[in-house]
């Protein structure tokens, strides 16, 4: 099946099996490896990308579903330099093995787009990505730090 969608700000075409999860299309067809495979069943969030600004688990999103949509991956999260979350992640030295972190940042970015100043409760409810290295408390701190550093609502806003 042929699909056309916007990928990190540029139009993109794919011709693959309609059922292929976006994760594998991104990694093996497009060659963007920042989006990770952790579980394949929507449990861990390592594969998180944005579809029209909403965090989605790309391992459970068939390519057919992205026709005409806007997809953002970690590679396209910031048009210039680093995203405020990436800066905060560096400041708080969040990553350990690092494998879950691009997914964590994508989940947090989508959250901040909806809610520029999330409470701890909102973070608990929204950030369900797993981290086997146990970086959760630093992720929380980094989200608060980034929220404080972002004066205006982030550019990437969720479409209704």
């Amino acid at each position: 099946m042929k699909v056309e969608f916007d990928l990190n700000g540029k139009p993109h075409k794919l011709d693959v099996d309609a059922a292929m999860p976006l994760l594998w299309a991104l990694r093996d067809e497009v060659g963007l490896t920042g989006t990770k495979f952790g579980c394949g069943i929507g449990q861990c969030g390592a594969c998180t990308v944005h579809m029209d600004g909403i965090a989605m688990r790309s391992c459970s999103l068939p390519v057919a579903a992205v026709q005409g949509r806007t997809i953002t991956t970690i590679e396209g999260i910031s048009a210039q330099g680093l995203h405020a979350l990436q800066e905060a992640w560096i400041e708080e030295d969040v990553p350990q093995c690092g494998y879950c972190q691009t997914g964590q940042i994508m989940a947090a970015a989508a959250m901040l787009a909806q809610n520029p100043n999330p409470s701890d409760e909102t973070i608990d409810q929204t950030m369900s990505n797993l981290c086997r290295c146990g970086t959760y408390n630093r992720i929380r701190k980094a989200i608060h730090r980034a929220a404080a550093a972002m004066p205006t609502p982030p550019a990437e806003e969720a479409k209704p």
Binding site: K36, S128, R132
Partner: protein, 722 residues
């Protein structure tokens, strides 16, 4: 300042160019350090040869440090680079870390097994050699500057990244590197004393973070090679099972993207142009299982065998002790659940075999790859990528052998990826253990006799097959007993043994290994003894710690931080545990409350560690957080169970790990010390299960002697406010 991606590094070997390259040998006593004048290592004819030196100072002043240990999250790239930079007096902003190639000079002197990352040994192992390399380089740069200025090295000083003349003239390390490379390396350079440290002990930002937040860090699965194909595998379902037959191979080979099907005795692989197509092909095959003649135990069988071993051994006879404890503790099998599923990339070609491996065990990986492709020595090259979690699982080489086996067949670069389900069901599991304690207290409440029999599989039968089982039968499981052997509780009559029980299950080193269960057992038992003696758990421990000053330091720090004696809010209770492992002592206090429906709210965790000289304080703190969270997953819900030889869990929905919403604030204190550094990466894990169990006892009167706690109905956990 960054850790190079693997691809940059592969290029680096050929492009080192002019500069000072120092080699070293971690295990040699004499002439440990040598100058490598070529700019590349032992194989200068190969333009792709990896950097075989330990530190390379380029003429532009940039400094590359080769790190023998795998970076699996513990921060070792940064920590070891700091050691070199400290003695070299380098500007840390100019320092980058690269994965060392596989070479005996990088062998871990604290472990058998060559180049191997494990046992929380990296800092201990390379503490001296890394600093010596830095100090040698500095001394050579000083000599080169002295020559140029026609003065003595002693009259000169260094400042970060440069040599300074008393009259104010300066030469950067970059400007001196080529001249320094013509000198001989001093064999035993003088090292700084702790009071002069500029980097060691001061928090440094990790070198690998920028790549990890950008998504550019190269993990095993991110290796991309021209014409690379992907392999998906399925193993025989039962741990010791075989594949009887595979039907539908022709139809699967005809599927879009699929290239070939490969059937082996115990596994089957499908190779395709993309991993998803390979996985689809695998699902379409009809695989018949064969378990004739192989053991197919269930968890109930394991349990029965362990209890039988304890019964056959018999109980210790009770003496005249006033008070007596006779209890059994138990832990299940566990899988490592590294965040990245198992994977490896291999290419067998005309010039040899290249393997891109997320591995903790480079030397053993080299052996496994050589065996799989029939090549040897320099023909086989292991390139270490970022791991995506190790915890002991990536010290195994099953996946290396598998990837190279496939690569030898298809002659194209092959990236092998296991599904999460295969990763969970075909691991090397932390042994299940039932540990019986019979402890008698004298009239003062001191443990007089301490009998501890542990029924468990002797891991060494599997892990060190070169030594006959007879030997291991005599020694017992010397690793499984770690942390139980000599409890610091002034025991007169100590009797601790392992009783080998064959579980017919692949076993592995899981974070903290023997300590992972013995920390829970011993520190829970001590809590029970404190109660028997009618004493406060902290006060009871403290009276034995006079001969254990580090335990005492840790306990005192903890009770102060947690305000142990202060009245808590209604319903809040504390639990404590202190455990020595990998040379360090870590203690933890947990504050929690338990609702009527057994929902546990974790309010706060305090942690103190004595690990000698701290290199990067922020990294130690991160490892304490990490070990606690990893240990909580095991304590609350982690368990692998078997049904007729088949692992029942498959993915994160039924092998669950802690989530963000469950982890309370964790406050960490590092005990100041200038003694040689000891282990960090695994040491926070052993006490946490006991600290939680002891707090739950304080809260509910229920003594939890079996992991995971979910089995006793404590299924829901959440984070409380600070």
């Amino acid at each position: 300042m960054s850790a190079l991606s693997r691809r940059d590094f592969i290029k680096l070997g050929g492009t080192l160019g002019a500069g000072l390259l120092l080699g070293a040998c971690s295990a040699c006593n004499k002439q440990r350090i040598f100058t490598l004048r070529q700019g590349v290592g032992s194989n200068p004819s190969d333009p792709d040869a990896d950097m075989l030196g330990w530190v390379f100072i380029a003429t532009d002043g940039s400094i590359k440090v080769a790190i023998p240990s795998a970076e699996m999250g513990q921060g070792v790239y940064t920590g070891l680079a700091m050691l070199v930079a400290e003695e070299l007096d380098a500007d840390f902003a100019q320092v980058s870390a690269v994965a060392a190639s596989v070479n005996p000079q990088f062998d871990n002197p604290k472990m058998r097994g060559g180049q191997l990352t494990g046992g929380s040994t990296s800092t201990m192992a390379f503490w001296t050699p890394m600093r010596e390399v830095g100090a040698s380089a500095r001394s050579m740069l000083l000599q080169a500057a002295a020559k140029q200025w026609k003065t003595t090295p002693e009259s000169l000083k260094t400042q970060p990244g440069k040599v300074v003349h008393p009259d104010g003239r300066q030469l950067t390390y970059g400007a001196l590197a080529s001249a320094a490379a013509k000198l001989d390396a001093p064999s035993s350079p003088k090292l700084k004393s702790a009071k002069d440290y500029r980097l060691i002990g001061k928090p440094q930002k990790r070198l690998d973070t920028p790549d990890k937040v950008r998504g550019t860090a190269v993990f095993g699965m991110d290796v991309r090679l021209p014409d690379m194909v992907y392999a998906a595998v399925e193993h025989a379902h039962a741990l010791k099972g075989r594949i009887a037959k595979v039907e539908g191979q022709a139809a699967v080979t005809a599927m879009p993207g699929v290239l070939s099907v490969h059937v082996f005795d115990t596994w089957v692989a499908v190779i395709a142009k993309g991993w998803w197509q390979a996985q689809q092909g695998l699902k379409a095959l009809k695989v018949t299982q064969d378990t004739t003649g192989v053991p197919t135990p269930s968890s109930a069988d394991h349990r029965a065998k362990m209890l039988q071993a304890l019964n056959e051994h018999g109980k210790a006879k009770r003496g005249k002790e006033t008070k007596y404890l006779d209890v059994e503790y138990e832990v299940p099998l566990l899988e490592h659940a590294t965040m990245s599923p198992i994977n490896c990339t291999a290419h067998v070609h005309a010039k040899g075999c290249d393997v891109w491996a997320p591995t903790q065990a480079q030397t053993n990986s080299h052996k496994a790859a050589a065996k799989a492709c029939g090549l040897k020595g320099d023909q086989v090259r292991i390139h270490t990528t970022y791991l995506g979690g190790g915890f002991g699982r990536r010290a195994e080489t099953d996946f290396i052998h598998q990837a190279v086996t496939l690569a030898a067949k298809v002659k194209l670069p092959v990236q092998l990826i296991w599904s999460r389900e295969e990763t969970t069901r075909h691991g090397f599991y932390r042994p299940a253990v039932i540990s019986r304690f019979q402890v008698g207290l004298n009239e003062k409440g001191d443990p007089q006799r301490w009998s501890n029999q542990m029924a468990m599989p002797n891991m060494l039968y599997q892990k060190v097959p070169a030594v006959p089982n007879m030997v291991w039968k005599l020694t017992g499981d010397v690793i499984g007993i770690d942390g139980a052997k000599e409890p610091p509780y002034a025991i007169d009559d100590l009797d601790v043994d392992t009783l080998h029980v064959e579980l017919d299950t692949p076993l592995g080193f899981w974070r903290a290994v023997g300590h992972s269960h013995n920390g829970f057992f011993v520190e829970s038992v001590v809590d029970e003894l404190a109660e028997l003696a009618g004493e406060d758990p902290a006060a009871y421990r403290r009276r034995f710690y006079d001969e254990y000053p580090r335990h005492k330091n840790v306990l005192d720090a903890l009770t102060t931080m947690a305000q142990w004696d202060k009245k808590r809010p209604e319903g809040h209770h504390l639990g404590l545990a202190v455990h020595e492992s990998f040379g360090s002592v870590v203690g933890e206090v947990v504050e929690l409350s338990v609702a009527k429906d057994k929902t546990v709210t974790l309010h706060r965790i305090w942690c103190a560690i004595h690990c000698g000289q701290v290199i990067n304080p922020d990294a130690v703190q991160a490892q304490m957080e990490s070990g606690i969270v990893y240990g909580l997953s095991a304590a609350t819900r982690g368990q692998i169970t078997l049904d007729k030889g088949v692992v029942q869990q498959s993915n994160f929905h039924d092998y669950q790990v802690m989530q963000m919403s469950e982890i309370p604030p964790i406050e960490v204190h590092l005990i100041p010390s200038t003694s040689a550094p000891t282990g960090v990466g695994e040491t926070a894990l052993p006490p946490i299960a006991a600290a939680v169990a002891n707090a739950i006892y304080a809260a509910t009167g229920t003594r939890l002697r079996r992991l995971p706690f979910a089995q006793a109905g404590f299924k829901t956990w959440r984070r409380g406010g600070a």
